[in-house]
């Protein structure tokens, strides 16, 4: 049997990786301060509460900066960062999408689908995440424009809280999916988001480069 060669194949560009980890850090800051405000808000005195809201606002601006760059990068970045790579708009993308759905429904049995950068199934979820994240940025900014006394009963704040839970759900699903795909595909997904290269065999690279 011929020896299988594994190759580090460049997939993610430096800006995409930088923005990904920037968003991870700022989102963590948002979630921690948001959770404190949500669950301990009534127990805190006014000054502490407003201080936490201020930190939440700063993290919000930082996160929005990363989100804006990533959104622009969807339209201006290299092919692996573009909206076209996230959504199943090509025939190959749709094929991988259905293969992924079948792979999940078959409880991860069989050969995992082969794709270079974004999995089209995950790509759809990322697009929904971007929309929810923008919704959070906008509702957060609009809520802070309200007077403090009006904020508590505002419908905007309730929508912002609902968005918080959607983002927590997304993070849990993202981490679980990365763990599962890492386990079955062994492409070094986490380290790929650090140095930019996934691991493929030479046959896989041949198959990927043969695609339209």
């Amino acid at each position: 049997m011929a020896e299988r060669r594994y190759i580090l194949y460049p997939v993610w560009d430096p800006l995409l990786r930088g923005v990904h980890w920037w968003n991870v850090l700022t989102l963590c800051g948002q979630l921690v301060t948001g959770a404190f405000i949500l669950y301990l808000g009534e127990e805190l005195d006014h000054m502490d509460h407003e201080g936490l809201v201020g930190i939440h606002l700063v993290f919000g601006y930082l996160f929005a900066a990363g989100l804006l760059v990533r959104t622009l990068w969807l339209f201006t970045g290299p092919e692996s960062a573009r909206l076209r790579d996230l959504l199943p708009v090509t025939r190959a993308g749709r094929r991988v999408l259905w293969e992924t759905v079948r792979f999940y429904l078959g409880l991860l049995r069989g050969t995992p689908p082969l794709y270079r950068a974004h999995n089209p199934f995950a790509g759809i979820v990322y697009c929904i995440f971007f929309l929810v994240a923008w919704f959070q940025v906008v509702t957060g900014a609009m809520t802070l424009k309200l007077a403090a006394a009006l904020r508590e009963d505002s419908a905007l704040l309730e929508l912002h809280e609902a968005g918080f839970f959607l983002i927590v759900l997304f993070i849990a699903a993202h981490l679980a999916a990365v763990f599962i795909h890492e386990l079955v595909e062994r492409r070094g997904l986490v380290s790929a988001m650090v140095h930019g290269c996934k691991i493929f065999t030479d046959e896989e690279i041949e198959a990927l480069e043969g695609e339209p």
Partner: protein
């Protein structure tokens, strides 16, 4: 393989052109819209001063009338409101407009000289354009044209400028190289 397609879409030139034209527009808007606004303030200030003077004169001969006191308080409040509406807000738009116009010219010059892939130049260029249009542009819509909802969008411009400055700084570390 290369990540990037070598295409030139926005390489900084558009920021220089936009910045210069935007600066011309903000310079024009200054005398046309801001200075007559200040004139309005002077009129309100004169009215307030007259009302206060009337109260002072009446006080010299006993208690001032409620009517004069009311006029003085209303005059002062109108003057303060006017400063806030015309002086402060319009000068904020004017100052930020000038600053962001110049920022686009400078950023455009730096982007032109950077040795980085063109997609980076495009995103940097867009960030500074969005920054000016959504920040000082929206401030102008609010203060000069009275379109209040536009004020809600200014944070997009602020965020774009911060992101643009950080990224341009990072890109300058690797992208400014010695000739030859």
């Amino acid at each position: 393989m290369s990540f990037y397609k070598q295409e030139v879409f926005m390489n900084g030139k558009v920021n220089i052109v936009f910045g210069l034209l935007y600066f011309a527009a903000t310079a024009l808007l200054g005398p046309v819209l801001l200075v007559p606004g200040k004139g309005g303030n002077f009129q309100k200030m004169a009215e307030a001063t007259r009302a206060v003077e009337k109260v002072r004169t009446e006080s010299a001969g006993g208690a001032p009338s409620m009517e004069s006191l009311g006029e003085a308080v209303t005059g002062i409040m109108d003057y303060l409101k006017d400063i806030n509406r015309i002086g402060f807000v319009k000068s904020a738009a004017h100052a930020h407009g000038n600053l962001e116009a110049l920022l686009n010219v400078v950023a455009g010059l730096v982007i032109l000289t950077l040795v980085v892939p063109s997609s980076y130049k495009t995103v940097l260029s867009l960030l500074f354009l969005i920054g000016a249009v959504f920040h000082s542009g929206m401030l102008y819509l609010v203060s000069v044209f009275g379109i209040r909802w536009a004020g809600n969008l200014t944070f997009i411009g602020a965020v774009a400028i911060i992101a643009g400055l950080v990224l341009l700084g990072a890109a300058s570390i690797v992208g400014i190289r010695k000739a030859g």
